[in-house]
Amino acid sequence: MKQLTILSGKGGTGKTTITASFAVLAKNAVVADCDVDAPDLHMLLHPEVIEMQEFRGSKVAVIDKTKCIECGLCREKCNFGAITSDLKFDAFACEGCGVCTIVCPVNAITLTERISGSSYISKTKYGFMTHAMLHPGESNSGKLVTLVRQNAKILAEKENSDLIIIDGSPGIGCPVIASITGVDAGLVVTEPTLSGIHDLERALQLLNHFNVTPFVCVNMYDINTDNTNKILSFCKENRIEVVGIIPFNPQVTEAMVNGTTIAEYSPESNVTEEIKEMWRKMCLSLKSGGS
Protein backbone atom coordinates (compact mmCIF):
# COMPACT_ATOMS: atom_id res chain seq x y z
CA MET A 1 0.00 0.00 0.00
CA LYS A 2 1.31 3.46 -0.95
CA GLN A 3 0.70 6.86 0.56
CA LEU A 4 0.62 10.15 -1.31
CA THR A 5 0.35 13.56 0.39
CA ILE A 6 -0.79 16.68 -1.44
CA LEU A 7 0.74 19.77 0.13
CA SER A 8 1.60 23.31 -0.89
CA GLY A 9 3.36 25.49 1.63
CA LYS A 10 1.26 28.46 0.55
CA GLY A 11 -2.47 28.18 1.11
CA GLY A 12 -5.08 28.45 -1.61
CA THR A 13 -3.02 27.03 -4.46
CA GLY A 14 -5.51 24.23 -5.20
CA LYS A 15 -4.57 21.26 -2.98
CA THR A 16 -8.13 20.30 -2.19
CA THR A 17 -9.35 20.74 -5.79
CA ILE A 18 -6.67 18.30 -6.93
CA THR A 19 -7.11 15.84 -4.06
CA ALA A 20 -10.86 15.69 -4.72
CA SER A 21 -10.34 14.99 -8.40
CA PHE A 22 -7.79 12.30 -7.57
CA ALA A 23 -10.38 10.74 -5.25
CA VAL A 24 -12.79 10.55 -8.20
CA LEU A 25 -10.18 9.12 -10.56
CA ALA A 26 -8.79 6.57 -8.08
CA LYS A 27 -10.26 3.11 -8.33
CA ASN A 28 -9.24 1.73 -4.99
CA ALA A 29 -8.00 4.41 -2.62
CA VAL A 30 -8.79 5.75 0.83
CA VAL A 31 -8.81 9.54 1.09
CA ALA A 32 -7.64 11.28 4.28
CA ASP A 33 -8.35 14.99 4.86
CA CYS A 34 -5.51 16.02 7.12
CA ASP A 35 -6.24 19.75 7.05
CA VAL A 36 -7.94 19.34 10.40
CA ASP A 37 -8.32 22.97 11.46
CA ALA A 38 -9.84 24.16 8.18
CA PRO A 39 -11.03 21.01 6.38
CA ASP A 40 -12.76 21.61 3.05
CA LEU A 41 -12.64 18.31 1.18
CA HIS A 42 -16.00 17.13 2.57
CA MET A 43 -17.72 19.96 0.68
CA LEU A 44 -16.74 18.30 -2.61
CA LEU A 45 -16.90 14.60 -1.69
CA HIS A 46 -19.96 14.64 0.63
CA PRO A 47 -18.94 11.86 3.00
CA GLU A 48 -21.54 9.90 4.90
CA VAL A 49 -20.23 9.38 8.42
CA ILE A 50 -20.04 5.75 9.53
CA GLU A 51 -18.19 6.29 12.77
CA MET A 52 -17.31 9.29 14.90
CA GLN A 53 -14.65 9.40 17.61
CA GLU A 54 -14.01 12.13 20.14
CA PHE A 55 -10.49 13.46 20.03
CA ARG A 56 -8.87 14.26 23.37
CA GLY A 57 -5.68 15.89 22.29
CA SER A 58 -4.78 18.20 25.08
CA LYS A 59 -5.29 19.16 28.65
CA VAL A 60 -6.09 22.43 30.31
CA ALA A 61 -5.52 23.70 33.85
CA VAL A 62 -8.61 24.33 35.93
CA ILE A 63 -8.55 26.17 39.25
CA ASP A 64 -10.79 25.53 42.22
CA LYS A 65 -11.37 29.07 43.51
CA THR A 66 -12.65 27.79 46.85
CA LYS A 67 -9.22 26.31 47.63
CA CYS A 68 -7.09 29.07 46.11
CA ILE A 69 -5.19 31.26 48.60
CA GLU A 70 -4.13 33.75 45.91
CA CYS A 71 -0.40 33.30 46.49
CA GLY A 72 0.29 33.87 42.76
CA LEU A 73 2.92 31.10 42.48
CA CYS A 74 1.08 29.55 39.51
CA ARG A 75 1.20 32.83 37.66
CA GLU A 76 4.87 33.29 38.45
CA LYS A 77 5.87 29.83 37.19
CA CYS A 78 3.65 29.68 34.11
CA ASN A 79 5.84 30.05 31.02
CA PHE A 80 2.87 30.67 28.73
CA GLY A 81 1.37 33.75 30.35
CA ALA A 82 -1.85 31.80 30.79
CA ILE A 83 -2.70 33.18 34.23
CA THR A 84 -3.83 36.78 34.51
CA SER A 85 -2.96 39.18 37.30
CA ASP A 86 -6.33 38.51 38.95
CA LEU A 87 -5.52 34.76 38.77
CA LYS A 88 -7.90 33.88 35.98
CA PHE A 89 -6.89 31.04 33.64
CA ASP A 90 -6.74 31.80 29.94
CA ALA A 91 -7.61 28.54 28.19
CA PHE A 92 -6.34 29.91 24.86
CA ALA A 93 -2.86 30.48 26.26
CA CYS A 94 -2.70 27.37 28.45
CA GLU A 95 -0.65 24.58 26.89
CA GLY A 96 -1.64 22.01 29.50
CA CYS A 97 1.88 21.44 30.84
CA GLY A 98 0.87 20.96 34.47
CA VAL A 99 3.51 23.19 36.10
CA CYS A 100 0.83 25.17 37.95
CA THR A 101 -0.58 21.97 39.44
CA ILE A 102 2.74 21.08 41.10
CA VAL A 103 3.67 24.53 42.35
CA CYS A 104 0.28 25.21 43.92
CA PRO A 105 0.78 24.81 47.70
CA VAL A 106 -2.88 23.98 48.33
CA ASN A 107 -3.56 21.66 45.39
CA ALA A 108 -6.20 23.94 43.98
CA ILE A 109 -5.30 23.30 40.34
CA THR A 110 -5.93 20.20 38.28
CA LEU A 111 -5.29 19.27 34.67
CA THR A 112 -8.41 18.25 32.83
CA GLU A 113 -8.59 16.52 29.49
CA ARG A 114 -10.48 18.48 26.96
CA ILE A 115 -12.28 17.21 23.92
CA SER A 116 -10.44 19.09 21.23
CA GLY A 117 -12.17 17.73 18.17
CA SER A 118 -13.83 14.84 16.41
CA SER A 119 -12.51 12.37 13.92
CA TYR A 120 -14.63 10.54 11.36
CA ILE A 121 -14.60 7.43 9.26
CA SER A 122 -16.91 7.93 6.29
CA LYS A 123 -18.00 6.59 2.97
CA THR A 124 -18.28 8.62 -0.21
CA LYS A 125 -19.48 7.42 -3.59
CA TYR A 126 -15.83 7.03 -4.56
CA GLY A 127 -14.70 4.97 -1.58
CA PHE A 128 -13.75 5.46 2.04
CA MET A 129 -12.65 8.72 3.57
CA THR A 130 -11.22 9.64 6.95
CA HIS A 131 -11.36 13.19 8.23
CA ALA A 132 -11.61 15.28 11.37
CA MET A 133 -12.59 18.61 12.76
CA LEU A 134 -10.50 20.32 15.38
CA HIS A 135 -12.71 22.44 17.61
CA PRO A 136 -12.25 26.11 16.81
CA GLY A 137 -9.14 27.43 18.50
CA GLU A 138 -7.88 24.10 19.81
CA SER A 139 -4.28 23.04 19.60
CA ASN A 140 -2.53 19.76 18.89
CA SER A 141 -3.55 19.46 15.28
CA GLY A 142 -0.51 17.23 14.66
CA LYS A 143 -1.90 14.52 16.94
CA LEU A 144 -5.27 14.67 15.22
CA VAL A 145 -3.60 14.38 11.80
CA THR A 146 -1.85 11.26 13.06
CA LEU A 147 -5.21 9.83 14.17
CA VAL A 148 -6.79 10.53 10.76
CA ARG A 149 -3.87 8.81 9.06
CA GLN A 150 -4.07 5.82 11.40
CA ASN A 151 -7.77 5.45 10.64
CA ALA A 152 -7.02 5.62 6.92
CA LYS A 153 -4.36 2.95 7.24
CA ILE A 154 -6.60 0.55 9.13
CA LEU A 155 -9.34 1.05 6.53
CA ALA A 156 -6.96 0.63 3.62
CA GLU A 157 -5.66 -2.63 5.04
CA LYS A 158 -9.15 -3.94 5.70
CA GLU A 159 -10.40 -2.96 2.26
CA ASN A 160 -7.26 -4.04 0.41
CA SER A 161 -6.78 -0.52 -0.94
CA ASP A 162 -3.54 0.14 -2.74
CA LEU A 163 -3.30 3.86 -2.03
CA ILE A 164 -4.00 6.47 0.64
CA ILE A 165 -4.40 10.01 -0.71
CA ILE A 166 -3.73 12.62 1.97
CA ASP A 167 -4.84 16.25 1.71
CA GLY A 168 -2.44 18.33 3.79
CA SER A 169 -2.72 21.77 5.35
CA PRO A 170 -0.78 24.88 4.35
CA GLY A 171 2.51 25.71 6.05
CA ILE A 172 5.44 23.53 7.06
CA GLY A 173 4.81 23.15 10.80
CA CYS A 174 3.48 20.38 13.02
CA PRO A 175 0.30 19.33 11.15
CA VAL A 176 2.16 19.28 7.83
CA ILE A 177 5.04 17.29 9.29
CA ALA A 178 2.52 14.83 10.74
CA SER A 179 0.92 14.43 7.31
CA ILE A 180 4.14 13.69 5.39
CA THR A 181 6.19 11.47 7.69
CA GLY A 182 6.63 8.02 6.17
CA VAL A 183 4.67 8.65 2.96
CA ASP A 184 5.91 7.44 -0.45
CA ALA A 185 5.45 10.70 -2.32
CA GLY A 186 4.62 14.36 -1.72
CA LEU A 187 2.94 16.35 -4.46
CA VAL A 188 3.49 20.07 -3.94
CA VAL A 189 0.84 22.22 -5.61
CA THR A 190 2.15 25.70 -6.33
CA GLU A 191 1.16 28.80 -8.29
CA PRO A 192 3.38 31.06 -10.41
CA THR A 193 3.59 33.95 -7.93
CA LEU A 194 6.64 35.06 -5.97
CA SER A 195 5.02 33.79 -2.77
CA GLY A 196 4.10 30.52 -4.46
CA ILE A 197 7.72 29.99 -5.52
CA HIS A 198 9.11 30.97 -2.10
CA ASP A 199 6.73 28.60 -0.31
CA LEU A 200 7.31 25.81 -2.85
CA GLU A 201 11.01 25.90 -2.09
CA ARG A 202 10.39 25.58 1.64
CA ALA A 203 7.87 22.76 1.13
CA LEU A 204 10.41 20.91 -1.04
CA GLN A 205 13.07 21.37 1.63
CA LEU A 206 10.65 19.90 4.15
CA LEU A 207 10.03 16.82 1.96
CA ASN A 208 13.76 16.45 1.52
CA HIS A 209 14.29 16.73 5.29
CA PHE A 210 11.90 13.82 5.86
CA ASN A 211 13.14 11.79 2.87
CA VAL A 212 9.89 11.95 0.93
CA THR A 213 10.07 11.81 -2.88
CA PRO A 214 8.84 15.18 -4.23
CA PHE A 215 6.64 15.95 -7.24
CA VAL A 216 5.41 19.37 -8.35
CA CYS A 217 2.23 20.67 -9.95
CA VAL A 218 2.01 24.28 -11.19
CA ASN A 219 -1.61 25.42 -10.89
CA MET A 220 -3.02 28.46 -12.75
CA TYR A 221 0.25 28.52 -14.69
CA ASP A 222 -0.96 31.16 -17.16
CA ILE A 223 -1.36 33.85 -14.45
CA ASN A 224 2.35 34.50 -14.98
CA THR A 225 4.20 32.37 -17.54
CA ASP A 226 7.61 33.89 -16.69
CA ASN A 227 7.25 32.66 -13.13
CA THR A 228 5.99 29.28 -14.39
CA ASN A 229 9.15 28.96 -16.46
CA LYS A 230 11.21 29.83 -13.40
CA ILE A 231 9.52 27.03 -11.46
CA LEU A 232 10.05 24.58 -14.31
CA SER A 233 13.75 25.34 -14.62
CA PHE A 234 14.18 25.26 -10.85
CA CYS A 235 12.61 21.79 -10.78
CA LYS A 236 14.72 20.65 -13.70
CA GLU A 237 17.92 21.81 -11.99
CA ASN A 238 16.94 19.98 -8.85
CA ARG A 239 15.71 16.90 -10.72
CA ILE A 240 12.19 17.14 -9.42
CA GLU A 241 9.49 15.82 -11.72
CA VAL A 242 6.77 18.32 -12.66
CA VAL A 243 3.72 16.14 -13.15
CA GLY A 244 1.12 18.79 -13.92
CA ILE A 245 0.83 22.26 -15.44
CA ILE A 246 -2.77 23.37 -15.01
CA PRO A 247 -4.29 26.46 -16.65
CA PHE A 248 -6.48 28.98 -14.83
CA ASN A 249 -10.12 28.17 -15.43
CA PRO A 250 -13.10 29.81 -13.67
CA GLN A 251 -14.94 26.48 -13.91
CA VAL A 252 -12.86 25.27 -10.95
CA THR A 253 -14.65 27.80 -8.70
CA GLU A 254 -18.00 27.02 -10.38
CA ALA A 255 -17.51 23.34 -9.57
CA MET A 256 -16.76 24.25 -5.94
CA VAL A 257 -19.87 26.44 -5.71
CA ASN A 258 -21.85 23.47 -7.02
CA GLY A 259 -20.28 21.25 -4.37
CA THR A 260 -18.54 18.97 -6.80
CA THR A 261 -15.15 18.21 -8.25
CA ILE A 262 -13.89 19.72 -11.48
CA ALA A 263 -13.40 16.18 -12.85
CA GLU A 264 -17.15 15.59 -12.62
CA TYR A 265 -18.39 19.12 -13.22
CA SER A 266 -16.51 19.55 -16.44
CA PRO A 267 -15.01 16.23 -17.56
CA GLU A 268 -13.90 17.62 -20.91
CA SER A 269 -12.26 20.79 -19.57
CA ASN A 270 -8.56 21.51 -20.01
CA VAL A 271 -8.16 21.37 -16.21
CA THR A 272 -9.67 17.88 -15.96
CA GLU A 273 -7.52 16.67 -18.87
CA GLU A 274 -4.40 17.88 -17.13
CA ILE A 275 -5.40 16.43 -13.76
CA LYS A 276 -6.06 13.05 -15.41
CA GLU A 277 -2.64 13.14 -17.02
CA MET A 278 -1.10 14.09 -13.68
CA TRP A 279 -2.93 11.24 -11.96
CA ARG A 280 -1.63 8.79 -14.56
CA LYS A 281 1.94 9.99 -13.97
CA MET A 282 1.60 9.83 -10.21
CA CYS A 283 0.24 6.26 -10.38
CA LEU A 284 3.15 5.21 -12.58
CA SER A 285 5.72 6.78 -10.25
CA LEU A 286 4.13 5.29 -7.16
CA LYS A 287 4.08 1.84 -8.74
CA SER A 288 7.69 1.97 -9.87
CA GLY A 289 9.00 3.63 -6.69
CA GLY A 290 10.47 1.55 -3.90
CA SER A 291 9.20 1.20 -0.32
Binding site: E95, C97, G137, L194, S195, L206
Partner: protein, 283 residues
Protein backbone atom coordinates in the same frame (compact mmCIF):
# COMPACT_ATOMS: atom_id res chain seq x y z
CA UNK B 1 1.25 47.25 26.36
CA UNK B 2 1.56 50.92 27.18
CA UNK B 3 1.97 53.46 24.43
CA UNK B 4 1.05 51.15 21.58
CA UNK B 5 -1.24 52.99 19.23
CA UNK B 6 -3.32 50.18 17.76
CA UNK B 7 -2.76 46.54 16.90
CA UNK B 8 -4.61 45.26 13.85
CA UNK B 9 -4.16 41.66 12.76
CA UNK B 10 -5.12 40.28 9.38
CA UNK B 11 -6.28 36.64 9.28
CA UNK B 12 -8.41 34.32 7.19
CA UNK B 13 -8.85 30.67 8.14
CA UNK B 14 -8.51 29.45 4.57
CA UNK B 15 -5.12 29.98 3.02
CA UNK B 16 -4.54 31.99 -0.12
CA UNK B 17 -7.49 34.34 0.27
CA UNK B 18 -5.31 37.45 0.19
CA UNK B 19 -4.31 38.14 3.81
CA UNK B 20 -0.82 39.28 3.00
CA UNK B 21 -2.00 41.36 0.08
CA UNK B 22 -4.58 43.19 2.23
CA UNK B 23 -2.15 43.61 5.14
CA UNK B 24 0.60 45.04 2.92
CA UNK B 25 -1.64 47.36 0.90
CA UNK B 26 -3.21 48.66 4.10
CA UNK B 27 0.23 49.17 5.66
CA UNK B 28 1.49 51.12 2.64
CA UNK B 29 -1.59 53.37 2.64
CA UNK B 30 -1.38 54.23 6.32
CA UNK B 31 2.23 55.18 7.07
CA UNK B 32 4.25 54.95 10.29
CA UNK B 33 3.65 51.22 10.37
CA UNK B 34 5.49 48.41 12.03
CA UNK B 35 4.57 45.29 10.11
CA UNK B 36 4.94 41.94 11.86
CA UNK B 37 4.70 38.94 9.55
CA UNK B 38 3.59 36.20 11.94
CA UNK B 39 3.18 33.55 9.22
CA UNK B 40 6.53 32.12 10.23
CA UNK B 41 6.01 28.85 8.36
CA UNK B 42 5.63 30.62 5.04
CA UNK B 43 6.39 34.34 5.46
CA UNK B 44 5.54 36.24 2.28
CA UNK B 45 5.08 39.92 3.18
CA UNK B 46 8.73 40.70 2.37
CA UNK B 47 8.12 39.48 -1.19
CA UNK B 48 5.67 42.38 -1.62
CA UNK B 49 7.46 44.95 0.55
CA UNK B 50 10.98 44.38 -0.82
CA UNK B 51 12.60 45.67 2.39
CA UNK B 52 16.25 46.40 3.05
CA UNK B 53 17.12 43.72 5.56
CA UNK B 54 19.57 44.91 8.16
CA UNK B 55 19.54 42.29 10.88
CA UNK B 56 18.91 38.60 11.52
CA UNK B 57 18.56 37.13 14.99
CA UNK B 58 18.26 33.47 15.93
CA UNK B 59 15.18 32.26 17.83
CA UNK B 60 15.75 29.65 20.48
CA UNK B 61 13.60 27.60 22.76
CA UNK B 62 14.93 26.28 26.04
CA UNK B 63 15.03 22.50 26.27
CA UNK B 64 16.16 20.26 29.13
CA UNK B 65 19.79 19.30 29.51
CA UNK B 66 20.19 16.41 31.91
CA UNK B 67 23.28 16.23 34.07
CA UNK B 68 24.04 12.52 33.95
CA UNK B 69 26.32 12.79 37.01
CA UNK B 70 23.40 13.81 39.20
CA UNK B 71 20.61 11.85 37.50
CA UNK B 72 19.53 8.56 39.08
CA UNK B 73 17.02 7.73 36.30
CA UNK B 74 14.02 7.88 38.60
CA UNK B 75 11.86 8.87 35.62
CA UNK B 76 9.92 11.65 37.38
CA UNK B 77 10.69 14.10 34.56
CA UNK B 78 9.39 11.79 31.82
CA UNK B 79 6.32 11.00 33.87
CA UNK B 80 5.58 14.68 34.36
CA UNK B 81 6.15 15.78 30.74
CA UNK B 82 2.82 16.09 28.95
CA UNK B 83 4.50 16.22 25.55
CA UNK B 84 6.62 13.03 25.72
CA UNK B 85 9.72 15.12 25.23
CA UNK B 86 11.70 13.04 27.75
CA UNK B 87 12.19 9.30 27.90
CA UNK B 88 13.98 7.63 30.80
CA UNK B 89 15.55 4.20 30.48
CA UNK B 90 17.60 2.42 33.16
CA UNK B 91 20.77 4.26 32.14
CA UNK B 92 19.85 7.20 29.98
CA UNK B 93 17.42 10.09 29.70
CA UNK B 94 16.61 10.87 26.08
CA UNK B 95 15.46 14.39 25.25
CA UNK B 96 13.40 15.14 22.13
CA UNK B 97 13.78 18.92 21.70
CA UNK B 98 11.19 19.06 18.89
CA UNK B 99 8.46 17.93 21.28
CA UNK B 100 9.43 20.19 24.20
CA UNK B 101 7.18 23.19 24.98
CA UNK B 102 9.73 24.73 27.40
CA UNK B 103 7.32 24.70 30.33
CA UNK B 104 10.09 24.19 32.86
CA UNK B 105 8.25 21.41 34.67
CA UNK B 106 10.91 18.69 34.37
CA UNK B 107 13.46 20.76 36.28
CA UNK B 108 10.86 21.51 38.96
CA UNK B 109 10.01 17.86 39.57
CA UNK B 110 13.57 16.48 39.42
CA UNK B 111 14.47 15.42 42.98
CA UNK B 112 18.21 15.52 42.21
CA UNK B 113 18.22 18.98 40.62
CA UNK B 114 19.85 17.33 37.61
CA UNK B 115 18.05 19.31 34.91
CA UNK B 116 19.19 22.58 33.41
CA UNK B 117 18.19 24.15 30.14
CA UNK B 118 20.02 24.71 26.91
CA UNK B 119 19.15 26.71 23.83
CA UNK B 120 17.66 24.93 20.86
CA UNK B 121 17.50 26.91 17.64
CA UNK B 122 14.13 26.71 15.88
CA UNK B 123 14.12 29.74 13.61
CA UNK B 124 15.19 33.29 12.96
CA UNK B 125 13.89 36.83 13.13
CA UNK B 126 14.56 39.18 10.22
CA UNK B 127 14.46 42.95 10.52
CA UNK B 128 14.07 45.30 7.59
CA UNK B 129 12.60 48.56 6.41
CA UNK B 130 10.88 49.89 3.33
CA UNK B 131 10.47 53.66 3.41
CA UNK B 132 9.04 54.57 6.81
CA UNK B 133 7.66 51.06 7.23
CA UNK B 134 9.47 48.74 9.58
CA UNK B 135 9.20 45.03 8.95
CA UNK B 136 9.90 42.13 11.29
CA UNK B 137 9.30 38.60 10.18
CA UNK B 138 10.00 35.20 11.58
CA UNK B 139 11.18 32.14 9.76
CA UNK B 140 10.62 28.69 11.23
CA UNK B 141 13.50 26.34 10.45
CA UNK B 142 12.70 23.49 8.09
CA UNK B 143 11.70 20.37 10.00
CA UNK B 144 10.85 22.16 13.26
CA UNK B 145 7.20 21.59 14.14
CA UNK B 146 6.48 24.43 16.56
CA UNK B 147 5.66 27.79 15.05
CA UNK B 148 4.27 29.39 18.22
CA UNK B 149 7.59 30.26 19.95
CA UNK B 150 8.78 31.99 16.76
CA UNK B 151 5.51 33.92 16.54
CA UNK B 152 5.97 34.97 20.18
CA UNK B 153 9.48 36.16 19.37
CA UNK B 154 8.13 38.24 16.47
CA UNK B 155 5.44 39.79 18.66
CA UNK B 156 8.02 40.76 21.30
CA UNK B 157 9.40 43.24 18.76
CA UNK B 158 6.30 45.47 18.98
CA UNK B 159 7.43 49.09 19.13
CA UNK B 160 5.69 51.90 20.91
CA UNK B 161 4.10 54.66 18.91
CA UNK B 162 3.78 52.66 15.71
CA UNK B 163 0.70 51.55 13.83
CA UNK B 164 0.95 47.81 14.28
CA UNK B 165 -0.18 45.50 11.48
CA UNK B 166 0.15 41.75 12.02
CA UNK B 167 -0.11 39.21 9.20
CA UNK B 168 -1.46 35.92 10.56
CA UNK B 169 -0.82 32.40 9.28
CA UNK B 170 -3.80 30.51 7.80
CA UNK B 171 -5.76 27.99 9.84
CA UNK B 172 -7.65 28.39 13.10
CA UNK B 173 -5.41 26.63 15.60
CA UNK B 174 -2.50 27.68 17.81
CA UNK B 175 -0.38 29.74 15.35
CA UNK B 176 -3.40 31.85 14.42
CA UNK B 177 -4.46 32.24 18.07
CA UNK B 178 -0.98 33.28 19.14
CA UNK B 179 -0.93 35.93 16.40
CA UNK B 180 -4.29 37.54 17.09
CA UNK B 181 -4.07 37.40 20.90
CA UNK B 182 -3.92 40.97 22.17
CA UNK B 183 -5.11 42.56 18.92
CA UNK B 184 -7.45 45.53 19.10
CA UNK B 185 -9.09 44.46 15.86
CA UNK B 186 -8.87 41.58 13.41
CA UNK B 187 -9.48 41.94 9.68
CA UNK B 188 -10.73 38.66 8.22
CA UNK B 189 -10.00 38.25 4.56
CA UNK B 190 -12.23 35.80 2.75
CA UNK B 191 -13.30 34.92 -0.76
CA UNK B 192 -16.92 34.37 -1.79
CA UNK B 193 -16.60 30.61 -2.27
CA UNK B 194 -17.86 27.67 -0.19
CA UNK B 195 -14.31 26.99 1.10
CA UNK B 196 -13.77 30.63 1.98
CA UNK B 197 -17.09 30.84 3.84
CA UNK B 198 -16.64 27.55 5.68
CA UNK B 199 -13.25 28.54 7.05
CA UNK B 200 -14.45 32.09 7.80
CA UNK B 201 -17.20 30.70 10.03
CA UNK B 202 -14.67 28.71 12.09
CA UNK B 203 -12.46 31.78 12.45
CA UNK B 204 -15.41 33.93 13.55
CA UNK B 205 -16.19 31.43 16.33
CA UNK B 206 -12.64 31.63 17.64
CA UNK B 207 -12.54 35.44 17.59
CA UNK B 208 -15.90 35.65 19.37
CA UNK B 209 -14.61 33.31 22.07
CA UNK B 210 -11.49 35.44 22.38
CA UNK B 211 -13.57 38.64 22.44
CA UNK B 212 -11.60 40.29 19.65
CA UNK B 213 -13.61 42.66 17.44
CA UNK B 214 -13.42 41.93 13.74
CA UNK B 215 -14.72 42.79 10.30
CA UNK B 216 -14.56 41.11 6.91
CA UNK B 217 -12.81 42.00 3.67
CA UNK B 218 -14.18 40.12 0.67
CA UNK B 219 -11.44 39.49 -1.82
CA UNK B 220 -12.00 38.32 -5.41
CA UNK B 221 -15.56 39.63 -5.19
CA UNK B 222 -17.55 38.47 -8.19
CA UNK B 223 -16.26 34.90 -8.29
CA UNK B 224 -18.17 32.12 -6.55
CA UNK B 225 -21.53 32.83 -4.94
CA UNK B 226 -23.30 35.29 -2.63
CA UNK B 227 -23.55 33.16 0.49
CA UNK B 228 -20.82 34.99 2.37
CA UNK B 229 -22.91 38.17 2.09
CA UNK B 230 -25.97 36.39 3.51
CA UNK B 231 -23.86 34.99 6.32
CA UNK B 232 -22.40 38.38 7.26
CA UNK B 233 -25.83 39.97 7.23
CA UNK B 234 -27.38 37.25 9.40
CA UNK B 235 -24.49 37.36 11.85
CA UNK B 236 -24.29 41.14 11.92
CA UNK B 237 -20.70 41.12 10.72
CA UNK B 238 -19.56 44.28 9.02
CA UNK B 239 -18.09 44.01 5.55
CA UNK B 240 -15.27 46.53 5.56
CA UNK B 241 -14.18 46.34 1.94
CA UNK B 242 -14.69 44.41 -1.26
CA UNK B 243 -11.86 43.84 -3.71
CA UNK B 244 -13.15 42.63 -7.07
CA UNK B 245 -11.55 39.77 -8.92
CA UNK B 246 -9.36 41.40 -11.54
CA UNK B 247 -6.68 39.69 -13.54
CA UNK B 248 -4.51 42.80 -13.18
CA UNK B 249 -4.49 42.48 -9.38
CA UNK B 250 -3.54 38.80 -9.62
CA UNK B 251 -0.77 39.56 -12.10
CA UNK B 252 0.66 42.39 -9.98
CA UNK B 253 0.64 40.08 -6.96
CA UNK B 254 2.40 37.35 -8.91
CA UNK B 255 5.25 39.79 -9.63
CA UNK B 256 5.45 40.95 -6.04
CA UNK B 257 3.82 44.37 -6.58
CA UNK B 258 1.23 45.58 -4.03
CA UNK B 259 -1.66 46.59 -6.29
CA UNK B 260 -2.39 49.88 -4.50
CA UNK B 261 0.95 51.18 -5.78
CA UNK B 262 -0.17 50.77 -9.40
CA UNK B 263 -3.91 51.27 -9.00
CA UNK B 264 -3.83 54.45 -6.97
CA UNK B 265 -7.55 54.64 -6.21
CA UNK B 266 -6.98 51.72 -3.83
CA UNK B 267 -4.59 53.72 -1.72
CA UNK B 268 -7.49 55.88 -0.56
CA UNK B 269 -9.75 52.85 -0.04
CA UNK B 270 -7.26 51.16 2.23
CA UNK B 271 -6.70 54.40 4.14
CA UNK B 272 -10.45 54.69 4.65
CA UNK B 273 -10.58 51.06 5.78
CA UNK B 274 -7.89 51.72 8.38
CA UNK B 275 -9.61 54.94 9.46
CA UNK B 276 -12.85 53.06 10.08
CA UNK B 277 -11.05 50.49 12.18
CA UNK B 278 -9.40 53.27 14.18
CA UNK B 279 -12.76 54.92 14.77
CA UNK B 280 -14.24 51.62 15.88
CA UNK B 281 -11.38 50.81 18.25
CA UNK B 282 -11.28 54.37 19.54
CA UNK B 283 -7.49 54.69 19.69
Amino acid sequence: MKGISMIVSVASGKGGTGKTSVAVNMALSVGNVQFLDCDVEEPNAHLLLHPNLHKTEPVYTLVPLVNEKLCDYCGDCSKFCQYNALFTSSEKVLVFPELCHSCGGCALVCPKKAINYEKHRIGALKFGSAGDLKLVYGELEIGKPMAVPVIKAVKKQIEEGKNMILDSPPGTSCPFIETVRGSDFCVLVTEPTPFGLHDLKITVQVLRNMIIPFGVVINRAGVGDKKVYDYCREENIRILLEIPYQRRIAELYSRGVPFSLEMLEWNEKFRTLYGEIRKFVGK
